[in-house]
Symmetry: C2
Subunit: 221 residues, 2 copies
Amino acid sequence: MTNKKVIIDVNEPVLGRNDSIAADNRNQFEREKVLTVNVLSSPGSGKTAILERTLDDLRGKLRIGVIVGDLQTDNDARRLAGKEAPVYQINTNDICHLEANMIQRALKQFNLSGLDILFIENVGNLVCPSSFDLGEKLRVGILSVTEGEDKPLKYPTLFKTCDVVLVNKMDIADAVGFQDEVAICNIHAITPRAEIIKISARTGQGMDGWYDYLQARFSGK
Amino acid sequence: MTNKKVIIDVNEPVLGRNDSIAADNRNQFEREKVLTVNVLSSPGSGKTAILERTLDDLRGKLRIGVIVGDLQTDNDARRLAGKEAPVYQINTNDICHLEANMIQRALKQFNLSGLDILFIENVGNLVCPSSFDLGEKLRVGILSVTEGEDKPLKYPTLFKTCDVVLVNKMDIADAVGFQDEVAICNIHAITPRAEIIKISARTGQGMDGWYDYLQARFSGK
C-alpha cells in the first residue's frame, strides 16, 4: 500500500466549482433568451409524462428542448423521442443528481438560438438535486397524489427552492384518499411564494394552467 | 482569508468509518439475536404504511421495534406510536440517508434483548441510502405501482442490494395501468436472487406472504 496523500484547500466551497459553471450556463441561456426549467421530483412522480404531454400540446407554439438525467438507461429519452423536439439523455453513472458541468457538456448538442424553453429533467430524488444549481431560471417541483400530503414537510430542502409545484395524478386523487387542501397548506408552509398547479398528465386536467404559467414566464411576466 | 489546508489519506475508503461502525452494530444484533431489516424506497412508496400494518398484525407473535429516519419532522414516529412497539425517530437534518453511527446512537434507546425484529425505515430516497451499511441482516426494497415498472432499471444501485422487494399498492394497480409481469422481470434483471412479494398495505392483500417471509428469516431458514 502506498501512502499517497491529497491536499484539499478547505477555503474553496464544496459547491463553488458547480456554482461557477452554473453561472456560465445561466449567462448562455440569458444571451440566447432561452427559459431554462429544472424539473425536480421523487422517482415516478410523472416528470417524463408531464414533459411528453407538454411537448405534444405546445408543438408549434413554443420551441422546446429537453435534457433528461438518469442514473442508468435511456428510457426517458426514448419516451420523448419523435415529438419533433431535440432531446438529450445524460447518464450520471449512479450519481444521484445532475451537476452544472453535465449540463454544460450536454449544451453542445443543442442549437440554443432555436429554442424558447429548455427543460432539464433531473434524476428522480427529493433530496440531493436541490443543492446543485444548473444555471436554470425556474425550478419546478412535482408532487404526485400517491406520495402523500406530508412530503413537502419531510423534504423541505427541495420544495423551498421551487418556483412552482405541480400536484400531479389528480385523476386518482379520490382513489388514494388525497387531501389537496392539506397538501397545498404544507407546500405553502415550506415555500409561501410558490405557485401551485393541480394537474393530471394522463387526462390533461389542469395542464392549460401549466402552459399559461410557462408562456407568462417565457414572456417575462 | 487564511490558507488552511487539510491532508486526506486517499487509501482510507470514504465509507470505511461507516463500515466499521456497521460491523459493530451487526455484532450487537447477532449477539442479541435480533433480525434487523433496512427498509428502502422512494418517498411515498408506503414504508410507514407497511410498518403500521405489520406492527398491528404481528402483535403478540413477534416482538418488533422501529427506527425511522427522515430529513425533518417526526410524522412517521407519530404514525407508528401507540402500537405497543418501541419507536425512535432520527432526524438527519437534511442528510439524504441514514448512516451507521446514527443507528449506533439510536440503539441506546432500545432494549435489544426484548426484540425479535428491528426495522430501520430509511430516508425516502432511491439512490443514496444504498451505499451505507447500517449493520442490517436484510434489505427490503419497496416499489409502489404508481412509480412505474421501469424504476428497478433506472435505480439499479439500490435494487441490486435488496434481499426482497415488496411491490406495494397493488389495490390500485389496475387504476394506474401497472403491468406486474414487466415490473417483476425488471426487478429480476437487476437482482435475480431477490424474493418479490406483491402487497397492499391498505387492503392487506399479500401481507401474509410478507409475514411468512419475516418469520422464516427470523427462524433462520
